[in-house]
């Protein structure tokens, strides 16, 4: 696994954010002041840095890329393949795990290492998790302040586009390169859906209460989205290929988004990590959907 990190990094958070059922921030162990935290979740790593606890991080997952400081931190595997030996050798006093990592949790329990179970569902959960994590590591005030800042920034973006017409928008987070096949779209549930609605779009799949669906060509044509946002992250597509990939949509000229040249390819990991950078993602969605509101 270590031999291919450049190819296999990140992007994990999208599926996790989109697919993991959940409550929020399951805390195991009492609040104290951990100094050697291992975060197996890119979103919580970013939260720790934002609340000023970056210096306490002793290790991160193989999928962590942001902030750049994580590059110097030891990597301890991911959701499916945590490197338990390496993790234990780092002598953590708190490990942030996905709540679905039951085997790892059992091992950490046996080793008497405190845990913070990460679960995520929708946009509101991001700041809830952040506050819970801050309280858990004894940085409640800093976490509350950072969370409040995120909520204010999101509210400002929402307000900025509030009274504008809401285009019917299709949000795609994966498809076969060079073809309109196996199109994975965000539907009416989950943090990407919330983000789209906040940024002034009307989710064209909002009636389907699923986090993601495999969208057929017929469905794309019949739903007639006015805007198509296609997300690219990790190493999935080089920016110089964006134009060519945008042209693939010309096969469906009756789709209003295609006819009116409103198919947008957005590249960036902030769309798939439900952490503090969600503000950047919301801002980019809003600027793409309502450029006139930001002039």
């Amino acid at each position: 696994m270590a031999a291919v990190p450049s190819r296999v990094r990140l992007a994990a958070s999208l599926v996790l954010a989109v697919l993991t059922p959940a409550a929020t921030g399951v805390v195991t162990g009492a609040a104290d002041n951990p100094q050697r935290i291992i975060s197996l979740v890119p979103a919580t790593t970013e939260m720790l840095f934002v609340m000023g606890a970056g210096g306490r991080i002793a290790g991160v997952s193989n999928y962590d890329r942001f902030p750049p400081d994580v590059a110097r931190l030891p990597k301890v595997g991911g959701l499916l393949d945590p490197d338990v030996e390496r993790l234990l050798s780092l002598k953590p006093d708190l490990v942030i795990v996905y709540d679905t990592q039951t085997d790892l949790k059992r091992q950490l329990e046996r080793a008497r290492i405190p845990m913070f179970g990460y679960v995520h569902r929708d946009l509101a959960d991001i700041t809830v998790t952040m506050r819970a994590l801050g309280a858990r590591i004894g940085m409640k005030a800093a976490a509350d302040a950072a969370a409040a800042r995120i909520e204010q920034q999101l509210a400002a973006i929402r307000a900025r586009v509030a009274n504008r017409p809401r285009p019917k928008t299709l949000l795609i987070f994966g498809r076969e390169p060079g073809a309109l096949r196996r199109v994975d779209a965000s539907a009416g549930y989950g943090f990407l859906h919330d983000l789209l609605e906040l940024a002034g779009g009307s989710d064209v799949l909002g009636d389907l209460k699923k986090q993601s669906i495999d969208m057929s060509t017929e469905m794309i044509i019949s739903r007639a989205p006015e805007v198509i946002l296609e997300l690219h992250y990790g190493d999935s597509l080089k920016p110089e290929r964006f134009d060519a990939e945008r042209r693939v949509w010309n096969a469906l000229p009756s789709v209003p988004a295609v006819r009116n040249n409103r198919v947008f390819l957005l590249g960036g990991d902030e769309f798939v990590v439900p952490g503090p950078r969600i503000v950047i993602a919301a801002d980019r969605f809003a600027r793409t959907l309502h450029p006139e509101a930001f002039k």
Partner: protein, 343 residues
């Protein structure tokens, strides 16, 4: 059963062939005609062919010509190719459980697709994207290995060795697939799994045109096989005694069936069960004569997959089921029913 067999045996082959082609041909024709008319969206045929509406604005025409017609054509081609390959592999390997997956060609195609998805292959050729191209290349690689195994037969090995060798290749490639999947991140794994469920939503004619090239070569090979497969499926020695060039025939059969399988899997992903259930269903209806089974399977395979895809895209509309799930769920019970009714 015996009475029916005697009736079949008394009827001239030419007459039975006419009935077989007419019967299954009507079914395939009806499926091709009906398939594009039905879907999750209601469309009006009058609007589809209304030239007064510019194509760019004609939603009905685009649903018909971009979303439905290519997938019906893809289903017809893939169903027919997998059914034909199933017939040929079963006769060649003298094993009723043989299928297009048995010798590893499907696994080769899957490996190519998994690599394209996992390592973000970023190229296209004549409008064909990286995943189907890599998939066909994978199937061709597997074909070369299997062909190498078949030439080993000249040194006196048996069909059972070819079968075991092929199954081993299949297992080996499956292990490599697992390794490539292990290297994938979560999103790629998600896409890999979806690819493995099969999809006929090809959304353009370019991949169908590309798949037609290897399929046409395969059909030319299949056309030489009906009589000799009957002899070979009884036994190589008796076939040779009757003047059949067994080695050459087996090689043509192997390459044709592998090419057809590779083209089908790279076009639609693995679609399970068609290659097993259709040949046996057709045999139950027309008997074991390959002069009837081959054309019957080609036509019925296409019709069967068009029907399964129709179910897949309408049963939970507006969402769709992967077609591979439907082929097994419909094909399995129908096959069991026919099998036990006849028994």
């Amino acid at each position: 059963m015996r009475e029916r067999t005697e009736v079949l045996a008394r009827t001239p082959v030419r007459q039975r062939l006419i009935w077989t082609v007419a019967g299954f041909g009507t079914l395939a024709f009806a499926a091709c005609l009906f398939g594009p008319l039905v879907g999750s969206t209601r469309i009006h045929l009058s609007a589809v062919f209304d030239r007064s509406i510019p194509y760019a604005d004609n939603v009905d025409a685009q649903i018909f010509f971009v979303a439905r017609l290519p997938r019906v054509l893809a289903a017809a081609l893939v169903g027919s190719a997998l059914a034909l390959s199933g017939v040929v592999f079963q006769a060649l390997l003298r094993n009723p459980l043989a299928s297009p997956d048995t010798l590893g060609v499907s696994a080769g195609a899957a490996l190519g697709a998994m690599m394209a998805i996992t390592f973000n292959f970023d190229f296209s050729l004549l409008g064909i994207s990286a995943v189907p191209l890599a998939s066909f290349a994978g199937s061709f690689g597997a074909l070369l290995i299997v062909y190498g195994l078949s030439t080993a037969r000249r040194r006196g090995t048996s069909t059972i060795v070819l079968l075991l060798g092929g199954v081993t290749v299949q297992a080996l490639l499956s292990a490599v697939i697992a390794f490539v999947q292990y290297l994938a991140d979560f999103t790629q794994t998600f896409r890999n799994v979806r690819w493995l469920m099969g999809s006929l939503d090809v959304a353009s004619y370019a991949p169908i045109g590309a798949a037609l090239v290897p399929m046409a070569i395969a059909w030319a090979g299949f056309a030489t096989l009906p009589r000799v497969l009957d002899l070979i499926s009884v036994g190589s020695e008796s076939a040779a005694a009757r003047g059949v060039n067994v080695e050459r025939t087996e090689r043509v059969a192997l390459i044709s069936a592998s090419l057809a399988t590779g083209a089908a899997v790279s076009l639609a992903g693995p679609v399970s069960f068609v290659g097993i259930v259709v040949p046996h269903l057709v045999r139950l209806i027309v008997g074991a004569d390959h002069r009837l089974v081959l054309p019957g399977s080609a036509l019925f395979g296409g019709a069967f997959l068009i029907g399964c895809d129709l179910v897949a895209r309408t049963i939970i509309a507006p969402l769709e089921l992967p077609v591979g799930i439907v082929t097994a769920i419909i094909g399995g019970p129908v096959f069991l029913w026919l099998l036990f009714r006849r028994a």
